[in-house]
């Protein structure tokens, strides 16, 4: 299974509806479909709050479903877990794989054996030494079905012997591919030379836990977790507050702030920011106009958030009529005036997409040409398609996830554009989230909107291979093009990066020409407000530790 991406949903319920507050800054970009919390003109409220008295960073957040790195499946948990735990390697803010607890590593000539050397003197936050044994034990724990990990096979599945543990229902505990050479040296064997294996190790599922601590504490260990990240969990009250404090035993440069306080109780984020209750907030569509006004005092705090590497699109099931007809798909694609939608509905917040790999992402190439808006061309393609006659056209049902957020504003406009330009009528079916997911996984949907892909780590394979290889589990539209498959297979084993990227671009061009999906947006160009006393806060497009480098002035 190749998919290593995080499935990314604009209307992810847990994050959005359940915390009207949760304009977590990590999610700031997704605010396009979540109409954000809004309280214009609210300011000079109570002045009990102001610049924090202590050296503490304050933020709105929502309850993390888990602190256990091996169990994490959601971004909320992951963004806290990366602050508390860490692993062999990590991503830096430029999205490069860099050493973390491992000082260095060697890859054998056949590309199948990785030998990691751990740093000297690295310690867990309780003072215990981190050894190679802890890593081996952690990997085995993550794989053990008793742990209940949902994605051990996704992130660790390449390791030899891991499948046996996962499928053994507890009988097999040892992963044969992981060997402790000595206290500081760990050897991991994988089943095939896979360039992306290291990237998988940056995910929390591969993080290290203290064998001694977890075994001695039993299930309660998670209430006061011990890790190797820049912070320690100081206090957690469900639905109220979460406090992180600096881990003084962190191996690298220690955090500049004493701690981070996360408000979990909800509240209108924007208003809390203006009240100086929190130091950072996302800006929703409804507030954007106001804070962009240079006369507004808030405009000075406005920060451009770099786009997340995401593409949202309308998916077509190319097995079912009328989407089995290339001309029909092209007609629909050419009929959507994304520029108009972006400007009028999203106030220019969003960047329209005609291709698949987002700009700025490794492997992005401006030479890939998308299908642009062209009403005349759209009509011509429709006339050429075998469904040009409305009576021969089967019913079209566009499914959108319906609860937990406004149904994407764009869906209704797009269906109206199809109707106006082409006379193609679409029924919109809004289904509740769990049902949507189930139908999508079963590849039962005919045409769907409201979801997108977000990269977990920087490689174009994340987009092209995962979404469009004919055997990929997440190729929900049953798109099959042998030429694309061939290019993807070639890219998988290609070692030269430039050549590899070119292969992906070639595949991307074919996919776009086939109108396999209708690309809509490369996510939003989000905005956030950051208090002037907060320095060194960097927005990142992926989940990496980010509180340790900021400081309060």
């Amino acid at each position: 299974m190749i998919s290593k991406l995080k499935f990314y949903i604009f209307t992810l319920i847990i994050l959005f509806i359940f915390s009207c507050s949760s304009d977590e800054v990590t999610e700031v970009n997704t605010s396009m479909s979540k109409s954000s919390n809004v309280a214009p003109g609210l300011m000079q409220g109570e002045k009990d709050y102001s610049k924090p008295a202590e050296n503490i960073f304050r933020i709105n957040f929502s309850d993390p479903p888990t602190f256990d790195p091996h169990l994490v499946t959601d971004t909320t948990s992951a963004s806290i877990i990366v602050e508390i735990f860490s692993g062999l390697v990590t991503l830096n803010k430029k999205l490069e794989i860099v050493p973390d607890l491992a000082e260095s590593w060697n890859v054998s000539d056949d590309g199948k054996t990785y030998t990691f050397t751990l740093r000297d003197g690295i310690k867990f936050s309780n003072g215990d030494e981190v050894t190679a044994e802890d890593f081996k034990w952690s990997i085995e724990r993550a794989a053990n079905p008793d742990t209940g990990s949902y994605n051990a096979d996704v992130y660790l599945g390449d390791i030899i012997g891991i499948k046996e543990v996962i499928e053994s229902s507890g009988a097999v505990k040892e992963v044969s591919g992981v060997t402790v050479i000595d206290k500081k040296t760990l050897e991991i064997k994988i089943d095939a030379p896979k360039t992306y294996f290291l990237a998988k190790l940056t995910y929390p599922t591969a993080f290290v836990l203290s064998k001694k601590y977890v075994e001695s504490q039993g299930e309660d260990w998670i209430d006061s977790p011990v890790g190797t990240g820049p912070f320690i969990l100081q206090e957690y009250q469900i639905g109220q507050i979460l406090k992180l404090k600096r881990n003084d035993l962190y191996w690298s440069e220690k955090s500049k702030v004493d701690g981070v306080v996360m408000n979990l109780a909800g509240g209108v984020s924007m208003a809390m920011y203006e009240n100086d209750e929190i130091d950072i907030t996302g800006v929703g569509l409804a507030d954007l106009e106001r804070v962009k006004d240079p006369n507004d005092p808030l405009s000075k705090d406005l920060v451009d958030v770099p786009p997340q590497f995401t593409i949202s699109y309308i998916g077509f099931n190319v097995n079912t009529p009328p989407f089995d007809d290339l001309n029909f798909r092209k007609a629909l694609t050419h009929a959507v005036d994304k520029e108009l939608i972006a400007e009028k509905i999203y106030s220019g917040l969003t960047k329209l997409a005609n291709t698949i790999i987002p700009p700025g992402f490794p492997g992005y190439s401006p030479s890939v040409q998308g299908l642009k808006f062209d009403a005349e061309l759209a009509k011509r393609y429709l006339a050429e398609s075998k469904y040009s006659d409305p009576s021969s056209r089967p019913r079209i049902i566009m499914t959108i996830p319906g609860t937990g957020g406004s149904p994407g504003l764009d869906t209704e406009v797009i269906s109206d554009m199809w109707k106006e330009t082409l006379g193609v009528e679409v029924e919109i079916q809004q289904v509740e989230w769990a049902t949507y997911l189930q139908d999508m996984n079963r590849k039962r949907l005919q045409v769907w909107a409201g979801s997108g892909w977000q990269a977990d780590y920087p490689d174009p394979q994340d987009f092209i291979d995962v979404l469009f290889h004919s055997e990929s589990d997440v190729n929900h539209g049953n798109y099959i093009n042998p030429a694309v498959d061939k290019l993807i297979l070639e890219a998988r084993t290609e070692i030269d990066e430039n050549r590899r990227f070119l292969l992906y671009n070639e595949a991307e061009q074919k996919v776009v020409d086939d109108a396999a999906i209708l690309p809509l947006w490369f996510d939003t160009d989000g905005y956030a407000l950051v208090k002037p006393w907060v320095k060194g806060y960097e927005f990142t497009s992926i989940i990496v530790p980010k509180y340790k480098d900021l400081y309060i002035e």
């Binding site: 359940f18 109780a265 509240g267 208003a271 189930q438």
Partner: protein, 309 residues
């Protein structure tokens, strides 16, 4: 009487069993699957099945149900599917307390405003003050919460700058005022109507007429005789309100950002977090059933004339 109460007490566990059975049925046979929601894009049938197997989701319906009930009887409501390794009780208790606090304050507001106004309307029965009060009460009663909430925020938080906008800080925090008003105002309207009609009815009885004829002072008539009797229907509503204490006011909690039970209810339905759904339904149902029982009981205490069915 005793017989009746006993019958009701005997019926209660059966009722709860049936409630749990229905919810379980909806869960097992309805669309959507907790494992898939958790897996997201990492879904593949094989691993999903393995996890389902492990969680006992592949067991026959009745076995799953019986297992659940067995655990619940020993006080074990299992762990949430979403909030991993966290017991449902640990998860729900703080939220229950938040909702209960908010509802209690709202209920207080409703009573404090509603009863005097209802009383006032009743003693003015027949002159223009009465319909005026009633109409005002109804206007507030009919005011949709979708309007009340933003309107209150606009006036009290933005224009007058008296209270923070939203969030939660417990009973003694200013932030409770607006949501409590949002719930309390329509509640007050209910009590106005209730007290009013009940007072009017009581004042019309022979018993009060007799007291008046006897020359008992009007104050005495109103307060001692009429008002006490008029409170009777209030007891009923009060019982139900108290039962609803632990049921969050979903929309108010959403609009004001309050970490109560309402939000997690909706959340659990969407993510198919069955242990949480089950616990919430069972808590809610028990509260309702017990409240009913108490209302019946109190009724017979206050007014022995009322027989039981």
């Amino acid at each position: 009487m005793l017989n009746y109460i006993l019958r009701r007490i005997f019926w209660m566990p059966i009722l709860l069993l049936l409630v749990s059975l229905i919810v379980f049925f909806l869960g097992v046979y309805g669309p959507g699957d907790p494992v898939e929601v958790q897996l997201g894009n990492n879904f593949d049938e094989q691993s999903a099945n393995r996890i389902r197997e492990k969680m006992g989701l592949n067991d026959p319906f009745f076995i799953q149900w019986a297992n659940y009930i067995g655990n619940a009887l020993t006080g074990d409501f299992r762990e949430s599917y979403v909030f991993k390794n966290r017991s449902v009780s640990e998860l729900l208790l703080p939220k229950l307390i938040v909702s209960a606090k908010l509802n209690l304050i709202s209920f207080g507001i409703a009573l404090a405003v509603g009863i005097p106004l209802g009383f006032y309307a009743a003693i003015n029965y027949g002159n223009p003050k009465d319909p005026l009060v009633v109409i005002f009460a109804l206007i507030f009663y009919a005011m949709p919460v979708f309007f009340t909430a933003p309107f209150l925020i606009l006036i009290f938080a933005l224009q007058l700058d008296l209270v923070p906008v939203s969030g939660w800080g417990g009973i003694f925090d200013k932030r409770i005022i607006l949501p409590a008003l949002t719930i309390g105002i329509p509640g007050a309207a209910v009590f106005v109507r209730l007290i009013r009609s009940s007072m009017i009815e009581v004042l019309d009885t022979d018993y009060i007429k007799l007291a008046r004829a006897k020359g008992v002072s009007e104050n005495m008539v109103l307060w001692k005789h009429a008002f006490r009797n008029a409170l009777l229907p209030v007891v009923t509503i009060m019982g139900f309100s108290l039962a609803g204490l632990f049921g969050g006011s979903l929309i108010v909690e959403l609009l004001f950002g309050i970490p109560g039970i309402g939000r997690i209810s909706l959340d659990s339905v969407y993510s198919r977090d069955y242990p949480v759904i089950m616990a919430i339904v069972l808590i809610g149902s028990s509260a309702l059933v017990i409240a009913n029982l108490i209302i019946d009981f109190v009724y017979t205490l206050i007014d022995p004339r009322i027989g039981m069915e």
